[in-house]
């Protein structure tokens, strides 16, 4: 009888120790710095894409829509955004000829691409998509090798004037994982094979394009009379 009681007491000790160990692990998990990860291949729900076709720049009444499929961690996309896109923006978008549509196409080889796309999506909640988009490409070399790039993105969000608390919550919830997946799936459907790819007037260009080429393609596609000559 006494032996049985001693056995039960020993068991209570083991149970108590296991409980303490478990609590310690959970406390550690809660207190460690939170890295954000955006799941891949999530089920896309109707709500993820309802009324959303991408991020737009330019006039609704523009004659041509150009869709860009891009990856924030892709160096060629960065070149395009930093070198070619300012001219496209000035000559084609701000003049009302082109409406630019940006779509996420995060490549599997880039571990931070999807998180970056998600950071821009969360910034869009506060009307700051393009500010975040520009910051991400501008600082690509900085965050690209990071293990926890989301921390850097949070800093960019702050610098872009976002309210960081809802932004961080959006990131933690992976709120737009489905939307990004839908964008990627759309790219695959139209034949996107890398980044950046462009869909101009129904034709897919599976390579990066200099601004002059985009202008020439748009020129050919837009009903005349057309473009003002760019000022030098």
């Amino acid at each position: 009888m006494a032996q049985a009681a001693a056995g039960v007491n020993r068991f209570y000790f083991v149970l108590g120790a296991a409980a303490l160990a478990g609590i310690a692990v959970l406390v550690y998990q809660v207190q460690k710095p939170k890295a954000v990860s955006i799941p891949v291949n999530v089920t896309v729900l109707a709500a993820d894409t309802a009324g959303f076709r991408g991020y737009f720049l330019g006039s609704d009444s523009a004659k041509i829509e150009v869709t860009e499929y891009a990856d924030y961690q892709c160096p060629v996309c960065q070149d395009f955004e930093n070198i070619q896109f300012p001219a496209v923006r000035q000559q084609l978008i701000e003049t009302g000829i082109v409406r630019w549509r940006y779509r996420d196409f995060p490549l599997d080889m880039h571990p931070n691409a999807r998180v970056a796309a998600h950071a821009a999506a969360c910034a869009n909640d506060q009307g700051k998509f393009w500010a975040m988009h520009d910051a991400l490409y501008q600082h690509q070399a900085e965050w690209s090798p990071m293990k926890n790039a989301a921390a850097a993105f949070s800093d960019y969000a702050k610098a872009a004037g976002l309210d960081v608390s809802p932004y961080d919550q959006c990131m933690r919830d992976a709120k737009y994982a489905g939307r990004i997946q839908a964008s990627y799936d759309e790219g695959l459907k139209v034949g996107v094979s890398g980044t950046p790819n462009f869909l101009i007037a129904g034709r897919l260009y599976t390579t990066t394009l200099p601004s002059d080429s985009i202008r020439a393609i748009v020129l050919r596609s837009v009903p005349q009379p057309i473009l003002p000559t760019p000022t030098r």
Binding site: A4, L26, Q29, V30, R172
Partner: protein, 144 residues
Amino acid sequence: MTRSRMAMALLCLAGLFVAVYLYLYKIGKIGTMVCGTGGCETVQLSPQSRFLGVEVALIGVIGYAVMLVLAFLALQPRHAGRSRPSNLLFLLSGGALLFSAYLTGLELFVIHAICRWCVASAAIILAIFLLALYDRRPRAVRPT
């Protein structure tokens, strides 16, 4: 009998920690889950992670907590020869086992991703169920 009840109590505690971990992730208290395949997040963020409007992980927390209390009660000397706690544990773990089978089916055929923590929970539930079944077996009455 005591040993099987001890094992059930330990398993209930382990299951409770798994469920609490999943629930803490779900409510945003844990940034990234420790999960080799990455399927855990896909499963936890899917619409199927809620059942009748309640987080599945929270149902797990409540279920394991109730079973832990029952397993603990079953260890008390006054319940030593009684089968009532085991019967209750058997019924509860049986229900939980069916629910786990349903959730595993959702992972395999609807979500197309496997969460290792959910598999661990299903294995724990199966072990509790088998132990409760063993604990309920008829015993020879010892002559006094």
